[in-house]
């Protein structure tokens, strides 16, 4: 891969000359990213007549900008309304929404935008210079390694439910079982589908997401006139540019945090089929693990917003690398981009960087520029967008329901999905009222199917030898890290208790 600075400079110039397009594409991307049920893949499909008609460079700039912006937009509704715009933003709810309730919505939005930008820029920058090495990662991340990585995410069920472990685990395992609805991963035989064809491909994540979060949250919020608590309301009324600046300083005080969590996203993004939702949950879990104050996670702390947001934007580079370097798409959006690229006669795979280095590296340059542009377009908006929560709940709740239901319908066009969403809304409401953690449920639904697919695949490859899970070096290192991550908090707690006991004794 012949990386020359002339190529990079060329691409920068090209991108700057299409700045208007980047602004347009990122605006669309942020909006669809924030709306549950709409994502970059279906939007790019819809706009194929445009991307196929224009030059490939222009098409790429448009698609890549829209793609990264959709990852950035997902956090907005997570923070303000506790409704994730997509699976990748689900983890952002954990601390983003508590922040918003405290009247720190503006700061939380800024944190999410800055963390997304830093995450995206760091990983895109790294990708430019280390592309061949990063692409090699795919050679070490197979089913076995993915099983362990997914377990990192799954252990989060126990942590988010720490205030009522038993109920949290019940919710988590119920989620895993709901995730096991649908065709099995080897023989495509339907399981637990109640004979409904609509469930053969599994329970649609978006129906669960909207039901359990949006609908049940809307029902729940009727208890008060406002989403905010008293002091939050007071703070929100006084909102000014100061809060935006506060968010920026909050974020950059945690620069290293943004950087390393984005790398988690990059690595996970490279694995085919693994995407933003896993990355966000795993990064959140890791962030909590290495924190000195893990008990504060979930109460609305900046790290809890930064980790999932920078990870799910770190995924964007990772997602596109297999497509560019190997010629195999890593996710749905990449697959759709491939349609456009092959249509324009671009040969993907190893030859891309020899024949068309401009297009190969251009992807990452566009990311850099798009993220920079978004920072300027989004930050000024935070002051206004965050006011959304000032709408009285009897007005806000029906609007949320009406518009998120569209998202539940849109991806598949089944009326069935709307009823399913209402069912999950009722389940989510029951869970919330009786203290079964809905995030635990959601983690089960999101990560369960991936875990099953990887476990079954690894077993099948090995001829059903369970030792396969301990057969790779990378996998074993990850296992040790997993065990440590489970034990470490208790050890730390034990030492603290002992120290406290000693202090008391002295």
């Amino acid at each position: 891969m012949n990386l020359s600075f002339a190529v990079l400079a060329d691409q920068f110039l090209l991108n700057f000359s299409y700045l208007w397009l980047i602004v347009l594409a990122t605006t669309i991307g942020i909006i669809i990213g924030a709306m549950p049920g709409f994502g970059s893949a279906n939007t790019i499909i819809m706009l194929l007549p445009f991307t196929l008609a224009v030059d490939i460079e222009v098409a790429m700039i448009f698609m890549v900008s829209l793609f990264v912006a959709s990852h950035m937009g997902g956090g907005i509704t997570s923070i303000l309304l506790n409704i994730p715009g997509n699976g990748g933003a689900a983890a952002t709810c954990l601390d983003g929404y508590p922040m918003a309730r405290k009247g720190l919505g503006q700061q939380a939005l800024v944190l999410s935008f800055v963390a997304s930008t830093v995450g995206g820029v760091v990983t895109a920058g790294l990708s430019i210079f280390l592309l061949p090495y990063i692409a090699r990662l795919a050679f070490y991340m197979h089913s076995v390694e993915m099983v362990v990585i997914l377990l990192f995410g799954i252990t989060l069920i126990a942590s988010v439910a720490s205030d009522n472990m038993l109920k949290g685990l019940i919710a988590g395992f119920l989620g895993l079982l709901i995730g096991a609805i649908g065709a099995d991963h080897i023989y495509s035989t339907p399981r637990g589908t109640f004979g409904m064809i609509e469930l053969y491909d599994g329970v649609p994540l978006i129906a669960v997401l909207i039901g359990v979060f949006a609908i049940s949250e809307a029902l729940k919020m009727m208890e008060n006139d406002s989403v905010l608590d008293e002091s939050g309301l007071e703070m929100m009324r006084k909102a000014s540019w100061k809060q935006t600046w506060e968010g920026v300083t909050m974020a950059f005080a945690r620069t290293w945090h943004m950087v390393w969590t984005s790398l988690v996203g990059l690595v996970i993004g490279i694995v085919p089929g693994a995407g933003a939702s896993i990355a966000a949950f795993v990064a959140y879990q890791q962030s909590r693990l290495f924190s000195k104050t893990p008990e504060k996670y979930g109460t609305g702390i900046p790290e809890g917003v930064i980790a999932p947001e920078s990870a799910n934007n770190g995924v964007t580079s990772g997602d596109l690398i297999p497509m560019l370097v190997i010629g195999v798409p890593g996710g749905t959006t990449a697959a759709v981009m491939m349609i456009v690229m092959t249509y324009h006669g671009v040969q993907l795979g190893p030859r891309l960087f020899i024949q068309n280095p401009g297009i190969g590296y251009g992807v990452f340059i566009t990311m850099l520029v798009a993220y920079a542009v978004m920072l300027f377009t989004t930050l000024p908006l935070t002051k206004y967008v965050s006011k959304l929560v000032l709408i009285p709940t009897p007005v806000l709740a029906p609007i949320i329901i009406a518009f998120t239901l569209v998202g539940a319908f849109a991806p598949r066009g089944y009326m069935f999905d709307l009823w399913l969403t209402l069912l999950f809304g009722a389940i989510g409401y029951l869970c919330r009222q009786t203290h079964f953690n809905v995030v635990a449920l959601l983690i089960g639904v999101i990560l369960g199917p991936l875990l099953e697919a990887n476990v079954m695949r690894a077993l099948r490859i090995s001829g059903n030898d369970p030792w396969v899970f301990f057969s790779s070096t990378v996998g074993n290192v990850l296992w040790v890290a997993l065990v440590l991550s489970l034990l470490l908090p208790s050890v730390v707690q034990w030492r603290r208790n002992r120290a406290a006991a000693r202090m008391a004794a002295a």
Binding site: I32, F38, T43, M46, D163, N164, L166, K167, L169, I170, A171, F173, L174, L177, A180, I181, D184, I186, Y187, T189, R191, G192, T193, I215, A218, L219, M222, E223, P394, V395, A397, P398, I399, I401, A402, F403, L405, V406, F409, A410, G413, M415, L418, W419, L422, G425, I427, Y429, L430, C431, Q433, T434, H435, F436, G448, L451, V455, M456, L459, R460
Partner: protein, 167 residues
């Protein structure tokens, strides 16, 4: 809830989720009983653990009730009569609007739903409610149907619009 640990624990309403879970797990196991082990193993694992957890939960509740540390109540489901009826209204209106979509189309059912919600829940004056609901429904129509091309069943409004504009 940590702060309630010393107080008596309410139970009753929190039985619903475990019971639903147990029923679903039982159904799931029946649905996969004839399949090859590869299609079965993960479901069986999750179901068994779920049963185990629910069993512990049951045991704990029974012991709690016997010792008097738990007491039965259903209020936590709706909190107060007033809040309960507000939520029930919202949910029933939602159900009704979904049921209306195949006949009324997206725009009209959304308008009706928002209008009624504003009227009943916020006690908004009818004109204002109609104005806000109308502009939101119209905005939704432009965004979701015209721009994003969501394939909602068409209602009188959509049919009229497409007939008039020739689109």
């Amino acid at each position: 809830m940590k702060d309630q640990r010393d107080a008596r624990v309410a139970t009753g309403a929190d039985w619903i989720i475990p019971i639903l879970g147990a029923v679903f797990a039982t159904y799931y196991l029946i649905s996969i009983k004839d399949l090859d082990w590869e299609a079965k193993v993960s479901g069986v694992f999750c179901a068994v653990v779920l049963f185990l957890l629910i069993g512990i939960f049951a045991l704990r509740t029974v012991i709690g009730l016997a010792r008097g540390t738990h007491y039965v109540e259903w209020r936590s489901l709706y909190e107060s009569r007033k809040l309960g009826s507000v939520r029930a209204t919202l949910f029933l209106l939602t159900v009704a609007s979904v049921a209306a979509i195949p006949y009324a189309g997206f725009t009209l059912s959304t308008f009706g739903y928002l209008f009624l919600c504003f009227l009943v829940l916020q006690k908004m004056p009818a004109r204002r409610a109609a104005l806000i609901a109308g502009s939101l429904a119209l905005f939704g129509f432009v965004l979701f149907i015209l721009i994003l091309r969501t394939a909602f069943p068409q209602g009188p409004f959509e049919r009229l619009f497409f007939a008039l504009t020739g689109l």
